[in-house]
Subunit: 342 residues, 4 copies
């Protein structure tokens, strides 16, 4: 089987990464590229690393145009609030869509408005969008027309907490997520704040308990728990290119009698069949470089009498964005789930 | 007034930094340098940045020798367990000593043994050593013969928590310290783990709830509270040279009715006369570069209904080591406390 | 003696650095700050590291206004082409001016036009501006009204080559300058190209034989040689904050019989009385960190039968910009030349 | 076809990279791993990024043992001077060998002794070893038993200069190579000099005209020219993980009349059929990130009346080491040359 792929937003970090992955995929052909650029350009003139590998022209986006005329599937690697302008037309034209923005992730449109500062423009499709976290929604993804590809922080946090939350094994009101992300997480855009010398040799917390990924984490954990969960979420900016590491603190409930080994066992069992989640032995913690350049999510656990500390890490551009998007594509089209991702 | 200074361990990061600071100090003369080196060398041949500023020979250490014959004060910038071999002789010779290692910080020698894997070799002086955190012990420092200069993580954590702990304003069992440090915190020593390419573009947690600075934090906070406090402490390694930032989570007690403004006010009052502690306005958080290269500790506070998040940052080589050591020296000799530190 | 200082362009890297240096200067008071900002702000709200040290309001620039009403001296830390709009008015108002931009460096206005893509707007003052390289023009600087503070690459290159060029000791047609600069050299401005992730873990040559600092180098070397010199100049961008290192290749003329020792001797003699130029012994090469954070220019020499290789390094924000500007100020006002610079 | 592979020195940077590449190769099986470690360990416990991909035990090396009993081909990813102790036995046992060290690169054993400070211990095989630069020696590589895999700097320099040198188009006495390398080029080994904080935010030249890769470059260029060539070679250390960029300066001979376009054409023709050399258009220069993570060598050219400036870049661990080694393996076994390398 062989499918044609369109990428809208091909020149951002997620778009660039998608091209790189899909060039290694034996079952797809990139047939359409567009991005917000001055004039059409050959993509390998924009990214010389692709020279000799792909010669496709990258066009300027045209909302009126049904993007990627011959595409079977379109990846939207666009800023938040822009994707929802492209999606309806693409779906109408019969394309399947994987949206890497946040536009279809939050089921409650009023929360979307609160965190993204705009009204949702496509509620019709919002309600049918599938949250593209394969570990939780694989069956729904298979037949989805529209995938809301999860955010990078949420992918990392939800995978790290799902086994505990789904089994109601801890104090669900005690979850603290201290998250650290590399710079590509913010997307490729010009600003004084993201100038090299402003970030290099610096480190900071930002958007404390106000980051737009927090409601996404709360939504998914609440769904798993069957009751409302509200996490404390403090993201920090690391002076490096790629990778997220989250240190998560949860308290045990008084009646919890499980030992560390059991928590590790719980996680190993929960993710037994997952190709991209790796659980470490007790006290063995993953670090960023164990996953950068891969689609893996690595999880380590340290347990004490009072609580559990979970350290989890992904590559924000792969399992946190483009890798997961391709994993979703593989599921949607019945390709082996790891194709082009190992 | 004018004093002679000896530095034992002059070629480590703390020693190098001490030299740099003291060269700017109008009331001191560096009169003796030694370090674990192959043969005596002019210090500016070891650190060419000091060329034209200081020509002193750095000798090999000689325990039998009463270090720094004419020194009034000796800084020990040595690895843990080594300082306590030098200290007794120096004190006997009438020198005052500021020890930058951990050897005289923990009042309970059994805890020292537990975390530093050796018996304490100088309990006689341990009990009289003054913990050199000026914000808490300024009066004692003035007349001290032996200063135990605080650790970098503890300086940052204790200053961040002292106002809340001393006033018993929060749930003292709920303290979580998620700490991140630059690489110089580990000292200048060869190992595969600290090779450039192993740390660059990487990030990791280490010694989770097992770091040797944790009992130091517990000791000081317990002293302030008047009861035993045990924090959760997770240090992480940042791929940058200098600076510590700690994100601290505390829960309120149920009867706490204070608002954010009040917490900020509490801190501003607590540190009102301190030359090197700066409190930000509500929700305004410091970042590493606000303090790197300075002796300041900056503290920011975000308060919510459930708890308080404190973000605090210091330069680990200045307020976290050599800067604080000179601050202590200034206090001991009656120099203006900020001399050579602004 | 005590003077009042104005800084126009206070929020760029050079302006920020000027503030830091001048705060340590016992003979000056910063009395006026302005910069291209949205609205007037306290400077320590823009740079929190200055909190507790300076509270001055930074205003928006007003060309019509005679900048810094009470200033004796004004530093212009502005982009090229902007300084020449401020300078005439300041000089008319009796201020002395140190311009850190390139506007008054090139004596030939047509070359200025060629490299800066605009006509020179103030030729009247151009001809009287003094090129502020103290090692060559100290006497002129003393009484100057307008200093053209040298570029960072040229400071490094001219100091590295002056002894050879002034004595006509090498093949003057053979000079190749392979220059590498940290990122602050480009100024603080937003662009995709200077985004952290675009520069981190990358390295590149740029503006090969076309950089605007090349004619400045050619002008000064030609002046020293008494004949036209045209260097090959290839700048590169280093993924670090500050510092320039230049590796310079020159061929000997056939009749040159000098040995290495002689070249080093020549340099040591040439710079004997200079407070900020340090010459290394034969084969001992400086590296960036020997000078970062200092106003020094360090020079090392490797000589072989065929030619001489010179490695030279400065901190681009200090000896390459703000440090040198303050050195010039010290000369202009008769302060010890190293004041606030050691 | 399917072959078994042994890797001796599996835990260094080159070994780690080899494992990563070979895991993607459809025609090979890694059957033997050894390295200088404390005790045998599962390779994915040493490199957790390989968890779930390879479980092989990495053994300690045993010179007496014929390494990799069932291996058809053995990669030696060892320090210089160690490889030549393993090679004779492996060849005797009928294995083919690709040696990534320098031990079999220099045809003149006396030069080896001069630069590597030891006598060559296996001259018998030295004379039959093939220098594994496919662009020059592809036919010989096909049937080689022993490949001397080229050094990283030489790969970059020789590919950049071969078209000019082979056609005698420039002044062959004028070649200056200003080379800059990331830190992995020095191998994974502990030393104070390679400590993170010593390299981060620093930059330096080293081994000026004395680096052990210089005679390798001279040997190959001299062979191409048919006469003795001696380059000026100055390597520098970049504060980043991987990649080499070389800026090369050559003078034209007086009778050269070629224009830039012609030089670019010459290069494009010279490398027309090469899968891993990419020539840029006139004045379009490659940067490190165009090749990091790939096996490509990118070359850009700027030509002026006086001379030619060539900027060339490779990933030192791929085209400069392990990638090229696998390229050689592909040639030796008739696999498509790019297998596992795109």
């Amino acid at each position: 089987m062989f499918i044609n792929i369109g990428i809208v937003g091909a020149t951002g970090y997620a778009g660039e990464e998608l091209i790189g992955i899909l060039l290694k995929h034996p079952n797809v052909r990139i047939s359409y590229l567009c991005a917000k650029i001055d004039k059409p350009k050959v993509i390998s003139d924009i990214f010389p690393k692709f020279k000799g590998k792909i010669d496709l022209v990258c066009y300027q986006p045209d909302i009126k145009y049904t993007a990627g005329g011959e595409s079977d599937l379109v990846f939207l690697a666009l800023p938040h609030t822009v994707s929802m302008k492209f999606t309806p037309r693409l779906l109408s034209a019969g394309k399947r869509v994987i949206d890497l923005s946040a536009d279809y992730r939050l089921k409650d449109a009023s929360i979307y408005t609160q965190f993204y500062k705009t009204k949702h423009a496509d509620r019709a499709h919002l309600k049918n969008a599938i949250y593209g976290l394969p570990e939780l929604y694989r069956q729904d993804i298979k037949k989805a027309r529209l995938i809301a590809n999860p955010g990078c922080y949420p992918t990392c946090a939800i995978l790290a907490l799902a086994p505990l939350v789904a089994t109601n094994s801890v104090d669900l009101n005690s979850i603290i997520i201290d998250a650290k992300s590399g710079v590509t997480g913010a997307g490729r855009k010009a600003s004084i704040e993201s100038f090299f010398s402003e970030i290099n040799e610096d480190f900071k917390a930002y958007k404390v308990n106000a980051h737009q990924h927090m409601p996404e984490i709360n939504q998914e954990l609440s769904g798993l728990a069957g009751k409302k969960i509200k996490v404390v979420f403090v993201p920090h900016l690391l002076p490096l290119n790629r990778g997220i590491l989250e240190t998560i603190y949860v308290k045990k409930t008084q009646n919890t009698k499980r030992k560390t080994q059991n928590t590790v066992s719980l996680y190993k069992k929960f993710y037994k069949k997952e190709p991209f989640v790796r659980i470490r032995g007790e006290g063995d913690l993953p670090q960023l470089k164990d996953v950068t350049g891969t689609n893996f999510c690595d999880i380590g656990i340290v347990e004490s009498k009072e609580g559990i500390i979970i350290v989890t890490t992904i590559d924000n551009l792969l399992k946190g964005a483009s890798g997961q998007a391709v994993q979703n594509m593989n599921i949607m089209y019945g390709f082996p789930e790891y194709t082009a991702l190992l």
